[in-house]
Symmetry: C2
Subunit: 160 residues, 2 copies
Amino acid sequence: MKMNEGVEWAMHSCVNLSWAPGEAVTAKRLAAFYNLPTAYLNKQLQALTRAGILSSVSGPKGGFQLARDPRNISLLDIVVAIDGPDDAFRCMEILKEGPGADARADYTKVCVISQAMRGAELTYRRELASRSIADIADEVVRLNPSAPDNTRSRFANLKS
Amino acid sequence: MKMNEGVEWAMHSCVNLSWAPGEAVTAKRLAAFYNLPTAYLNKQLQALTRAGILSSVSGPKGGFQLARDPRNISLLDIVVAIDGPDDAFRCMEILKEGPGADARADYTKVCVISQAMRGAELTYRRELASRSIADIADEVVRLNPSAPDNTRSRFANLKS
DNA sequence: GACAGGGTACTCGGATACGTCCTGTCCGAGTTACAACGG
DNA sequence: CCGTTGTAACTCGGACAGGACGTATCCGAGTACCCTGTC
């Protein structure tokens, strides 16, 4: 049970983008920020664009920017966009092969084990849904007030 | 982010074993219960044995049984035994490549994103740790009182 | 000097290999029961 | 009849292939800028 590496990159990139509003930042600069492979990060940014989290523009002066207010982008949105919407625990309804099975029953709902696992994942997703990119950015600013300026200046230096 | 298939098998097998205390049940019979591949289920049961959840005996009259009281076996124990102890989200500390990075800092602890993800997974694991195999078994009995007898008789029928 | 048109450079987007881990299978080590044999 | 010994069958345990998905990369589609030529 391991999550895609790109989730971490996507989250950091979204926080950085929240500090450069109205400006299209290229995948190249976003990748250079943390020495990440450009093409692969681009792939993740594409997924975020398909999910409606980012908006993209091609060509010179092109790049990515947040498609909506960072208060409306939750960590869960990013996880779902990159890692997919499926739950980690997939009930294969093996009870259907057991004794006294009812072919009509939906064992993903009936099976007690499935219920417990789904419940646990639900609390996990709820927790992620309650945290927005804006919350993260605010917390970072609280710990390091110069972070937004540092990000913007670094974007500027990487412009060449 | 998908969990090993074997987790589901292991949980169902542990519940069934809780209804056959003191009896060594072979992997063959446990697999026949749900038409699962015997050798692969055996692999999962081996993992549970290494984790101290089951005890195994070789040879004729051999098999597996719960190594301790089902009240002391949590769903988290099984997940950890089969799927490994690592968190799904792995902070690769990409901030170390960023501007103003501190090589001495442990960014798995400092990074706000890492904190948020770890916090969410903690609630998930807490939820799983709070549910024991005995709890699951009791709930199944409440919904279907004849389940333990059905399981025992099926084990007996599969003895040949 | 101003404007139109073509070319060029730059960026996103999807299609294409590579590596790792889950899935599935097989054969050997260990142990018990049984049967045969001798006392 | 009872004890002993050897054999055989059965089970767990770890080592061995196959496939799916995450990781990484490359080339084509689209767009804005710039340079050139003309009015």
